[in-house]
Amino acid sequence: MSPLNPSSESVLQVSDLTVSYGAIKAINGLSFEVRSGAIVTLVGGNGAGKSTTLRTLSGLLRAQSGRVIFRGETISNLPAHEIVARGLCHVPEGRMIFSNLTVDENLTMGAYLQTNAALRAKDRDYVFSIFPRLKERLRQTAGTLSGGEQQMLAIGRALMGRPKFLLLDEPSLGIAPRLITTIFEKIVEINRTQGITILLVEQNANLALEISSYAYVLETGRIALEGPSQELRSHPQLKATYLGG
């Protein structure tokens, strides 16, 4: 399976972004762009700034300087809920589902901004078509789901917000290997059938490069290397550091 063929139009531009936690700069002058309809991945080791990047894009963190432009509009000064409303949805690291609520209620929360009940029902059916497992578990408390099912729920919840662009943070984390394959296939399916652009952060660089069309390698808060995923898979430096070869 290959990702949707990206158009040439750039949908997200990040320029010269700097984000600090206190005195420590987690991201330092980061610039990159994502083309509409693509699956783009950010790979890099622990502490490279991958999650910080996503958290800044979705408005959970404030940048000290720099700009994020989404579909032609500067969003780096907007609060998180307004960014979601513009179609940029973040599936955070650790999934952050509402573990005390049922699967059903979690999906309802995801559709918080969708006031049209008919569209809500339609989106729900779409989520079930992608993840039939969620339909089976509808009345179950989300905290009792397996790791993989929780990840499905987290992605499903984000899909309920009708995203144009998905930020996925470590979807393979803490999930049985068998389910990882399923989830990555579904990510590609969501991208291909719905045309949703995806920015994927992954520690599992092999997997990320396999499903993405373009990749950025992040090191200590800036881009160390970039290129089409195909090419990076055979890049000697990357191979030695991240691909276990």
Binding site: L60, P79, P92, M96, F98, Y112, L113, R157
Partner: protein
Amino acid sequence: MTEFLQQLVNGLAQGGIYALIALGYTMVYGVLRFINFAQGDVFMLGAFAGFYLGPTILRITGSGPSYLGAALVLIAAMATCGLIGVVIERLCYRPLRSRPRITVLITAIGVSLLLENAGQLVFGADPKSFPELITDRALEFPVSWGSLSALTITLSQVLVVGVTLALLLILRQIVRHTRIGLAMRALSLNPTAAQLCGINLDRVIAFTFGLGSALAGAAGILISIQQPSIDPLMGINAGMKAFVAAVLGGVGNLSGAVLGGMLIGLTEALVVGYLSPTYRDPIVFAVLILILLFRPSGLLGRTEREKV
């Protein structure tokens, strides 16, 4: 037996007041994880809103006390207090949102002291007599009820319990079945995830403060109908008792706040009836100490480990 039932009735009427105030503590704790100590003083402001607006409203609705007039005064006081709650959050707590929780807690104590002293300055420190909104009387029971007919239940007690229950039901509907209620629940479960679902934290937090303060305002009117002497420091004791009620029921738990309020009200009434009014406050606060020692999460609260 009659004596016992009498104390139960008194306890429920008082407990309803505590429950309404305790709900404000518990709702704010649910979304922001801190105790808004100014809640008891908002209750006091509710009573004073009734004191100042009451005569005007009664003049408009016609001559003298009436149910319509009382209902309008109740609504006006709730609206006033709701607005005050929103303003307090906006000015005092929102700027401190990202600060350590202890900072916000100390600020809350500061706001409480500010309202108490500003109240003495503006309203005067001496007790005021609350306008008569309804003509209170003891209800008559048929003699065929036997010893029950000896019960003294006043109209105001019945109204207080009735209005309290109605407000609790409305609150429950809001929390369970409205969009903003859904947002409040999401926020109390996981603020980050709530934001990522498109929930506007500022608006939900403001709404929560407004709602909690409006309930305290309602409590201020209801208590003043029963005990028509009000003063700017009346919120201290009631606020502390309601805080004990919230902790007893389990802070953050709405049903817990109601249960706690009722239990504290009943405890007080029984202590007053069977022991001595002197022991009322010590016993209530002993309950607080006991609950913190043996069941810190409260009767209905879930044990929640502090997340690191």
